[in-house]
Symmetry: D2
Subunit: 466 residues, 4 copies
């Protein structure tokens, strides 16, 4: 997962992009970067490891001049996680300098890389983004926008991307719309962001989603945007897991309020999987809104029986003696007074490997809960994502290996209930078939081909400061 | 405000102290430090600026050997904020090496400093802790514990402190008990912490509060603790603002659950200051539990209409163009879908200067709220704290200058209601007179004397990396 | 200028490469990097900005496993100086992973880049090294060595390079031998270095120079090296400026001792440009050995009238008031007792812009010298270098614009004398025609074509931490 | 050893002090610091670990306002080496704020500390400087200068110090003059420095030495300096080892040129300890000028047979396989062409433990020297220094344990010769009895009393970033 932001024609472009990335930090804190271009087509690029606030300061932003900027914030990547793969990637081609940021995952990237390598391309990263740039360079056109469209018509899978050329800023989204991308307006200046939270911070307004298969070009000097369409029919396949977990609750996603959708998931979960209990405890922060919905629907009171430590995420040192449930305890602490002697419904968004849920249930029991009923506001996660979500291999997904009762026993809950796929799809306004449900159903509308280059990292070990 | 932790006789003393400080980070992130002593009375000390996780790593902890340790985490300090004032302070005296950590504020520190200076003492910090060490050095005793007690009988005000001597670890608390301090037990090893959350993480159990005026000594080799009493009568004057705002909600404080007390404050607030509205929105995170209590009591639904950005706190850069309500927006974002067209009760814990509340109200209005009713779960803050809370000067407290209606107008709310002092004191089980209420009532049971040395910083400018 | 080092088959490959680079630090301190490969063809790469000792530590070296390694240390580069251009560059091609380090400058790089771009290549750096990798990828062969040779036969100019493939380590040198490259032997393990100083530190012995146009391959598992030849006739054109200034004085360069050659230059200078003076003062450190030679030949005593500050090179802050000759004074300080009242011969290796020499002469005069006679142990520098030396544009070379007498007046010396080109060529054992003398004579045996891509930096501003 | 600098009344005080410290870096690179005071008596202090150029930058210097400044650069200290002991030390006393920097070592510091501790002082560092501040605070006077003089009359040993008070800058030097201290003049502004090199860089002129037992006060607003005298008779006992090794060769020390004195030492050494050899090789950098003197006197040619690596001093990593003479090789490399087959006289300034000399001799032999004759330009070092030089314990001094022939055998030289004490004293113009020769003769004119507090470090382990 990643977050992207771009702005096309503002004196404070780098700084606004920094703020945009700041509000997209929940989409990735491994690395971040910004590229800017001035009106003469001169580029400046800065990427770094860590939080956006650790990489950029006033001095660095001053060294990113120009009125157009694109930025990227990146989630931890399997394999060759490293500065090498940090974005934007900027390269020199026969069409001049190009810089790209990308959210998503191309399902035919491995195949395309091998073809490109066979015909003489060299790869310096393992990212899909570099594939797009090679495809553009192999099909140069007078107009960079046309070259990008030719390239994008060769790739399959999920992409929401921003490209900065010497005379143009382009936004593009795949024909399925797996990943979100919005067009905004900041006092007349067009801007783009993965989520509406970025616009809220800047005081920009949402214009609309970048449409499926749409390519929006903003040429230097032009007041208006240009809209193009990629060949082929569109088929909406939006990632509903964005609603379940990934997006900020204050975002408008695919036209709906994330907070509202999550609350409805909790309510539907209460209808499908009721529990004879005394109170509802959300697993913070991701279970908060579903917990609220479950409480409202079930009539069971919402209580904050688990408190989150705000400083989690920094390097951590375990003591010599092993502390029980250490990994979870540094993040969450049970409130004994709320839990002790009560029958507790825990509400969380999903179960991946099952080990964290097991520790939380154990911790809640040790805080004195009489019964623990775990309720999950999405269906069992049984299949890996090929469209940009960072999921483990299938064999590591507990629901791919175990039946419900086995999962319940492993986790140690008195009862376990998942939201049904139908129930989940019923709470969103858009039609069910407009969403990707592959991680639950295995229904991959765009099949991956040619293996996954990210599984064979280029330089596995020491390149983390490149 | 500060957090302190100590442990007396464990092979993993430094590491456990690190974890204890980690769970006390909400009490201060400006600087942190740990001192350890081994059985031969050799000390090691490490202090640094920033979060505890930025200062300590495995390598640093290995260089802090010994089975006894004390640690400190410090809030931002007015004036001479700096590594110079980071704790523990360790010094050499005729009684050997002594290291101290301290939470609180001495009301006669300025007077004592001047006396000590007049008789030839030199001060290298502006902290009260150094005053205590000077008083000890001026009254050396065979027994370090006795010397500490002689010193503490000369000071007035608030202190919860831990002292590490060559052969002893001592915990002491003033006769009013302004600041919390707990005795815990980790599998037979005594430990001390400002809040119970530190024990929860380590799997230690709470034994009891360190009593008012109590001095607990743990001598090397001794299995049991020794309890002493400072001269003079005790008069419980616990800081109830710890319950309102400062402590972790999962802590047991002064014998009561913070989460539960906060919920009751919200409920009482709903009774005292009802509002004709559609929903209750807590100002996260501090207003969460009072908001829940308000919702429960009023019957108005709790909704999360403000979402908190998790990455706040890092250095921040404002763009050239001024963004409306920038300072608040990087922390909180309104959820338009929840708020728009509704009559909203905002619940927060307190108003200090009023500027932040004003921005929040404005932001909620801009997100479409039809009416905004601000409810505060504590009385108007009218007086500065002299017992260790970091409050601005009186003239900066809006409630010290303005009447309720003026405050409402400044903040721009449709209505404004504070919890009454009686109402607040009614929700805690302990008797009303056992709490300090000075910040609301001006009733200072221990009057400050001799001015405040922290107002005249020693080296105001460039010592921040000392 | 750069320094390169490689070793082919040693358990401690990364660490030895680190030490090799350490002893080549005089050839560049802007950035450094090491790539290693293990017997399964897995690569690890680490590059960074600054001194080799700042980039690598025990932990980083442990993350560079494998028995084969190549390393690079880089001089400050005009234009796009940055981590982006740091070496080794490692890429993925149809022949597997390849990593390259390179010392020199290709005279047709600009032309080749444009051709490659036109046919669809993308460039991520401005370095010549990337051109070589593209040429290889465009002409893949079963055997990486063959592919490298095909690529090298297309490039012109100066290169001494090391390439690490999955199954081979290759060293190559251009047919003119502009830049040095030696084959060494460390207890049976072949190794390569720009200068013999690297071998001295490790206790390796010099086997021989890599010959002109030679390509040496060391295949995994093979005990012996394989020697190949690039097509085309060789024509020795070694950079004699390495002898004048660049190489370490303790190195054996092109078969001769640098220290000895420099001393002979000084002696010849004394014969050609005698001075009626009292003493000889070398401009440390570069003028030391020529100064010794001048003193020995002239009979004038050698005196250390200028002392060098050892800590130069770190960031420097000038005071508000301008100190006379500030830039030179932080490096050199005159010894008044040695200089005052005397007629001084200053011996330096070369004059580029003339501004530094002017300050030194002025400073020596202010220290009381009665007369200052400047003697330069090389001819007037009149032409830029196209073979890897970092020289300014022609218009910035004082000797390209001014006659001898004008230079003397600008510098303010009582007399000025350069070593003649014939004199210089006479002191080395190799035939005069085997050296490149272009920077003095303008006789470029390999003419640059197609402009210099380094003049059009890719990302001019903020990429310095990439 | 340390270097100190101060300036009394200049708009650019902090910056000039930074430059002064820069030129005194050879006197210590462990830590450095600057304190400034403005005309209202407000202080600012900055200390840090490492080179002065790593601690200070433009931003830090801007935060050190005020027209008066003192600075310090510190050599590695035995025991509690750490930021804790970095100077200036600044404290608050009844006379206001005081900041001190100090070069030297008090021989009764241990005794004074114990007395002060007994009467109630607390010590936060192990430095002698803190003792002086305590003595002042215990004897406050209206006039800070008087208080300083009362304190200094109680201490014994070596001190050259600078004190900054709210209204005065004071320089003081002990009655023996162990350590140098000069008064300079920068365009009318008085300044002080350990060595004249600091004045040279700034363009200040030397006025004179601060005299033995002199206390110079510069009061705010006063145009002229005030000179006072400490009670008791003066007895010049200057450290002649400053001439042998420690001072910059370009400094004027105790009225004589260091470079000239070193050259004479070499000449006298040649007379006393001639050698039948082919050439003279100085051990760089310390042996350079003695080597020149030896060469001139003996008629043997000076040759640079050992070359120094300029980047030494940074963290270093030894490879797994042990490289012969590794520790010396990273600093010095022999030039085989100069040495091979020749009879070499190595000239160095002193032998401490003998291990380094042994490695150098071995390395020179391995480079092919036929004979190696080691000549030392000072007498055998047999006694530790109690006056501020950092020497090992007596048992670690090879000349304290072994006879000349045993040392020669250990070192492996063909012959070994030291300069005689008479010979050494004969080359300086000042009378022999005006110098301290204790490290050679054991003649301690001021005997240490009461043990050495630096041997009992306060916090031995982890305080290095305090």
């Amino acid at each position: 997962m990643c977050g992207i932001f771009g702005i096309g024609g503002h004196d404070d472009a780098a700084n606004l992009t920094y703020l945009g990335l700041y509000s997209l930090q929940h989409r990735g804190q491994e690395s971040a970067g910004i590229a800017t271009a001035d009106d003469e087509g001169r580029f400046a690029v800065k990427v770094g490891m860590g939080h956006v606030a650790d990489i950029f300061d006033g001095e660095v932003l001053r060294r990113l001049p120009g009125r157009r900027a694109i930025g990227h914030t990146r989630y931890s990547t399997a394999g060759a996680s490293a500065l090498m793969n940090a974005q934007p990637i900027a390269v020199r081609t026969s069409m001049g300098t190009l810089a790209v940021v990308h959210n998503g995952h191309l399902t035919n990237a491995g195949e395309l890389r091998r073809e490109l390598e066979r015909s003489g391309s060299i790869f310096q990263t393992t990212s899909d983004t570099e594939v797009v740039l090679h495809l553009m360079a192999r099909n140069p056109r007078r107009d960079v926008v046309e070259s990008l469209m030719v390239a994008l018509e060769q790739v399959e899978g999920a992409f929401s991307l921003l490209l900065l050329g010497e005379e143009v800023l382009v936004a593009a989204r795949d024909r399925h719309g797996f990943r979100p991308l919005l067009l905004g307006d900041l006092d007349g200046t067009p801007c783009f962001a993965s989520e509406s939270g970025a616009f809220d911070l800047l005081g920009a307004r949402i214009v609309r989603e970048v449409e499926l298969g749409e390519v929006i070009a903003l040429r230097n000097g032009a007041g208006a945007i240009e809209s193009h369409r990629l060949c082929g029919s569109t088929r909406p396949t939006r990632c509903i897991f964005e609603h379940v977990y990934f997006a900020r609750p204050d975002s408008l996603l695919f036209g709906e309020s994330v907070a509202e959708v999550r609350r409805r998931m909790g309510a539907q979960l209460a209808r499908e999987q009721p529990a004879a209990a005394d109170l509802v405890v959300p697993v913070l922060d991701s279970g908060l809104l579903a917990g609220l919905g479950f409480s409202r629907e079930s009539g069971l009171p919402l209580e904050f029986g688990l408190i989150r430590n705000h400083y989690v995420g920094r390097t951590f040192i375990e003591p010599k003696q092993t502390i029980r449930n250490f990994g979870v305890k540094v993040k969450l602490n049970p409130v004994r007074g709320v839990i002790a002697g009560r029958r507790v419904v825990l509400v969380d968004d999903s179960i991946v490997r099952g080990t964290t849920s097991r520790k939380i249930v154990q911790m809640v029991r040790e805080a004195g809960a009489r019964e623990v009923h775990l309720r999950i506001s999405s269906p069992p996660t049984r299949w890996p994502c090929y469209y940009g979500m960072d999921t483990p291999r299938r064999t590591d997904l507990i629901a791919a290996r175990c039946e419900l009762e086995e999962i319940r026993q492993f986790i140690g809950a008195d009862s376990l209930g998942y939201l049904s796929l139908e129930g989940l799809l019923g709470v969103v306004d858009s039609p069910a078939e407009s969403f990707c449900t592959a991680c639950w159903s295995g229904d991959y509308r765009v099949a991956p081909t040619g293996g996954d280059p990210a599984q064979a990292p280029l330089f596995p070990l020491a390149d983390d400061e490149r």
